[in-house]
Each structure stands twice: as C-alpha cells, then as structure tokens.
C-alpha cells in the first residue's frame, strides 16, 4: 500500500512537471511579443519591460527561473494588471470558485447516487422514469445552456434568485445547480446500473434470507457495494467541474478564478494564463490523488491485492 501510494505520488509530480513544461513552452512559442498591443513605446521602455518579465534571458534560463519560482509558490506577475500579481488573483478568485465547485459537487454527490439507487430499486416505475429524464437532461444540456435558461426562466420570474453576482448564499444556488447537474446525471446513471448488478448478487439474497429489514439490506449491503463505481469517477467529475466553472462564472458574473482565466484569455495576459493553468493542474492532480486514496480506503480489494504482492 505504501509502495502504491509512493508510485502514485511520483506519477503526480511527473504529470505536474509535464503540464508546467508544456504550458511554458507553448506560451513562449506564440509568435510576436506580448506587448505589441500596448501601442508604440520608446525602446527604453520596451527593454525595461523585457527585463522586468525576464524575457531578455535565454529561454532555458527563463524556464529554470519559472520552475524555481513555482516551487516557492510564486506564480509571477500579471502582464496586464499593474497592481495585482497572479498570486493575488488566485487568492481572490480561488475561494469563490472553490466554494462554487464544492457546492456543485455536494449537490451532485447527495442527489446523484440517491436518484440512481431509487431508480434501481423501483426499476421501470415512476422513480426510474424521473431519474432517466433527469439523467438525459443533465447529459444533453451543456452547462452554459442550462445556466442561461435558469437566468431567463427562473431568476427573471422568481424574484428570490438574483440573476448574477456573488455575495450571499442565494447567489450560489442557481450556479451550483447548473454546474452540478451534469455530474449528478452521470452519477445517477452509474449508480443505477451498478445497483441493478449488485441487487442480483447472492449476498443480497443471503442478507434477505437472514431476515434483515429491507432498509438494512439496501443500506448495508447494496448501496455500499454499488457506490464504488461512483467513487471511481470522482476524479473526472472534479476535472469537469473545474472547467465547467469557467462557463458558469462567465454567465452568472461570478468573480472567481474561472472568470480571471477567461478574461486573461480575452486580453492575452500570458503570465496569468500560464499561472492559472498551472494552478488548475495542481489542484486537479491533488484532487485525483485524494480520490485515489479514498478509493483505496473504501475498496478493500485494492488494498488486499496490493498487500498480497
């Protein structure tokens, strides 16, 4: 188990390094200079700018400096904002995005598996159809469509929900819903099929014939086994939430990291693009590691085979 953890950890570091390197060289492969849009400037100013961002040094040196700064947790300066560094923006935007993402994840995790389990227990009855409809909507309606429709048809008609902005809890409800619906649908579908499989297993029959109540059979034997595939897609779910937040933050005007990212794309702020990308990658890889560890904890089979070797 320790060996497995170590291997996963090393792989994570390699992945992160690969992302940093690819991002760095991609960003420096862009033709032209990043200050071209600033209008004509005296050569002295240009040289000073080059020096400030370290662009006068050879590429490999820039790369090493960037890596060194990253290890110290310094994501560099923004090329467009004169007052805030990339770190400042992450500090300001990340808590907002993290809250939105966490709420969407909790929403999906609470209702998705529950809906899937209900569908399996009442196969081809009303709960099954409801869950099927939710799953189909969740999978076919992209989050930006869902977001705009929620604003148009819910927020504009029901005064309680603001059409955008950030601050109170009521601001977070619609965005979390729009962001969480797709993972909810995926989880419901997965849970339904794995629950159906589990319900046919012999140990369920044994549990029933022991005289356990229906509730105990479902909670202790069926759900606990059926939830494993749901846990295994948590990583990809978090990845989708992260990217989905770009779109949702844009629609609802939420001042999160996604909005900074989208803005930085719009005005070609290369250091900010690079910084946020690396930061996103870091968060994601951490999450994937966490999910893997969780999966190992909840599925004894993995633990046992690893120890058996």
């Amino acid at each position: 188990m320790k060996k497995y953890l170590l291997k996963r950890f090393v792989m994570s570091i390699i992945t992160l390094w690969a992302i940093v390197t690819i991002t760095f060289f991609l960003m420096h492969a862009i033709p032209g200079n990043p200050f071209a849009k600033e209008g004509k400037m005296p050569p002295v100013v240009y040289e000073n700018l080059q020096k400030k961002y370290g662009l006068d040094k050879p590429l490999y040196q820039q790369y090493l400096i960037y890596l060194g700064n990253l290890i110290r947790g310094d994501f560099g300066d923004s090329m467009k904002s004169r007052v805030e560094t990339v770190n400042d923006m992450i500090e300001r935007g990340f808590p907002v995005s993290a809250r939105l993402g966490a709420q969407a994840l909790v929403f999906a995790l609470v209702f998705g598996p529950a809906l899937g389990a209900m569908a399996a227990l009442y196969q081809n009855k009303i709960p099954d159809y409801i869950s099927m409809i939710v799953a189909i909507i969740g999978i076919s309606v992209p989050s930006f469509v869902m977001g705009t429709f929620l604003i148009q048809f819910v927020a504009k008609n029901i005064g309680f929900f603001p059409i955008g902005g950030w601050g109170e809890f009521k601001h977070t409800i619609l965005p979390s819903f729009a962001l969480g619906l797709m993972p909810l649908a995926t989880m419901a579908r997965l849970m339904r099929s794995s629950m159906l499989e589990v319900l046919n297993q012999d140990y369920i029959k044994t549990a029933k014939s022991k005289g356990l109540t229906k509730f105990a059979v479902i909670m202790k034997h069926a759900v606990r086994n059926a939830i494993l595939p749901v846990v295994s897609v948590l990583g990809i779910t978090i990845s989708n939430l992260l990217v989905g937040s770009f779109v949702i933050e844009k629609i609802f005007g939420i001042p999160g990291l996604g909005m900074f990212f989208v803005k930085s794309i719009g005005n070609r702020d290369y250091t900010l693009i690079m910084g946020t990308t690396v930061f996103y990658a870091l968060i994601l890889i951490l999450m994937l590691l966490l999910v893997d560890i969780t999966y190992m904890l909840v599925d004894p089979r993995i633990r046992l085979t690893e120890e058996g070797h």
Binding site: M11, A29, P31, P142, F144, K250
Partner: protein
C-alpha cells in the same frame, strides 16, 4: 465379420435427411446487433434525430434564401416570423441559415475529431497491445500523463496559442486542440481489448491450428474489438461537439461570419441580456438535441453490442 450386402442399406427418407437442417435463418453478428438496437426506442429516436439534423445541416442553409454572412440593416433583431424563421441577429443576418450552417460546422468538428481519435487511438493502443511488456508499460505511462491533463484546459490553451488575438480560431486548430489529448481513452480501450483477446481461447485455438499473428489480428481480434470501438466513437462525437461549443462560448470559436452552435450561443447570450431570448434558444436547443441523440445512440449501441445481454 459379416459381409456388407446391398440389402443392409436403405434409402433415407426425406424426413430423416432434413433432420439436421437448420431451418431458421442464422442471424449474423451485425444484423443481430441491429435487431436489438431497433428494439431500443430511445436509441432509435436518437438515430432518427441524427439523420434529420444531418440532412438539415446539409440543406438547411440553402432553403431560406439567405446566406449566413449577408447583413441586412433594415432587418435587425427581427423576432421569428414567416420571413425569418428563427429571426435575425444584431447585424440583420438570418438566424435560420446561421443556425444550420453552425450545425454543419459543429457536426463536422465532432466527426473529424472522432475520426482522428479513432485513427490515433487504434494505432497507439494496438501497438501497445502487441508490444513487449516493457514498451507497453512505457507507452501507457505516457498516455496516463497526457490523460490526466484536463481536456478542455488543453483545448483552450491550444486555441490561445495557435490563433492571434481577435482573429478567431481556425477549424484546423480547433480539431488539433481537441484531438491532442482526447485519443487516449480510445488507445486505452483498444490496448485492453487487444491484450484480452490475444489471450482468448479462440485466438489460442487459431494459433494452434497454425494461423500466424496477422491472421489472428485480422480475423479474430479486430472484428471483436469493433463493437466497443464503435460505442466509443459514438460517444466521442458529442464530447467534441460539446468542447467546441464551450470554446465558442468562451469566445475562442470560429471567426465570424462563420458560425458554430457554440459561437451562436455566445452571440445569443448578448442578445438575451437585452431581452432577445430567441437568439440563444435555437442554437442551444440544437446543441442539446445533438448531444442527446449521440448519447442515447451510444448507450443503445453499447447495450445492443453486449452479447451478455443477448436474450
């Protein structure tokens, strides 16, 4: 030993002769898959919608009498009516034409991306599957690293890098960005299948009858991998369309006056802010319909192809 005489034999009756005959037509694999797919109503709805949308994407831009780029300043932001079926946008362009024209690009991007993923995935996965364990292990580690980079993040990054500011992203860059990491699931799938089928008993049987590797690959492994691969392709198309739509929505889509469903939704969002909801409804509905159709068709195919579900 008694001698065999003619009297010991008699002619078999018609009935005896036909006893071993297979009366019902035997159903081959693909017709059987099709038969089971036909029973899945949702999948058939999906298939019908895909065919309808494809036809409309081909002929739609031609039937309204307007072009996708023609601007008519006397008809700006017209609500849907008998003249402009989906209304017009803020430049007076006919949205019916633009929507179907956009569907054309969205479908094209989805299909091209799936085709490229298919090719790279099969080659990479196939090579990893038949290679030595060491090569296989290295190839799979590389694939894993590539796969753990979030897909849309790469797509966004690539479009930023390979297109200059304000000029939009070219079709080539969009496709490149989408396929650069998205071939990995296909490669992993193919490799898994090859490894599994290589060890299957019928491969062993074929080998012991003297078949060479090429024959086994052609006759046993490839036909048996085709099913899961087909399912994967059907599910790659909506993923690519979704990614392109998101890209367009973030302002990184095709350059105007070209349109895709994503860029139309992005333009429509601006319209919605001033109360022109119809501008976003049609592209948004169409994206959802396309995603829906491919997803249910893919699910249906998966069920139809799985021999374990055969009744």
């Amino acid at each position: 030993m008694t001698e065999l005489t003619k009297e010991m034999f008699e002619r078999a009756s018609e009935e005896q002769r036909n006893a071993e005959k297979i009366r019902r037509p035997s159903i081959k694999y693909w017709p059987d898959v099709w038969r089971r797919l036909k029973q899945n109503k949702l999948a058939m709805v999906g298939l019908t919608l895909i065919i309808l949308i494809t036809i409309m994407a081909i002929i739609g831009p031609m039937i309204s009498g307007y072009t996708y780029y023609e601007q008519d300043y006397s008809n700006i932001n017209v609500k849907p009516n008998s003249e402009f079926w989906f209304g017009t946008d803020e430049l007076g362009r006919d949205l019916f034409t633009r929507t179907w024209y956009g569907a054309r690009y969205s479908l094209l991007i989805g299909i091209l991306a799936a085709a490229i993923d298919f090719t790279i995935g099969i080659l990479y996965g196939g090579i990893a599957g038949v290679s030595s364990r060491r090569v296989d292990s290295i190839m799979m580690r590389i694939a894993e690293v590539i796969y753990s980079i979030p897909y849309l993040l790469v797509v966004i990054l690539m479009s930023v890098v390979f297109s200059s500011q304000g000029s939009g992203t070219s079709l080539f860059v969009i496709i490149l960005a989408m396929t650069i990491t998205d071939w990995v699931p296909m490669a992993i799938l193919v490799r898994g299948q090859v490894l599994q089928l290589k060890e299957a008993e019928y491969s062993l049987a074929s080998e012991s009858l003297g078949a060479d590797q090429g024959w086994i690959l052609r006759k046993h492994i490839i036909p048996n991998t085709l099913g899961p691969i087909l399912v994967n392709v059907t599910l790659t198309i909506p993923r690519a369309i979704f990614a392109e739509a998101t890209l367009g929505f973030l302002g990184l889509g095709l350059q105007a006056p070209k349109s895709s469903l994503g860029t139309l939704a992005n333009d429509g969002l601006a319209g919605m802010a001033v109360g022109l909801t119809y501008q976003i409804i049609f592209p948004a509905l169409l994206i959802s319909l396309i995603m829906f159709s491919f997803n249910v068709l893919g699910d249906g195919l998966r069920d139809a192809l799985d021999p374990r579900l055969r009744k």
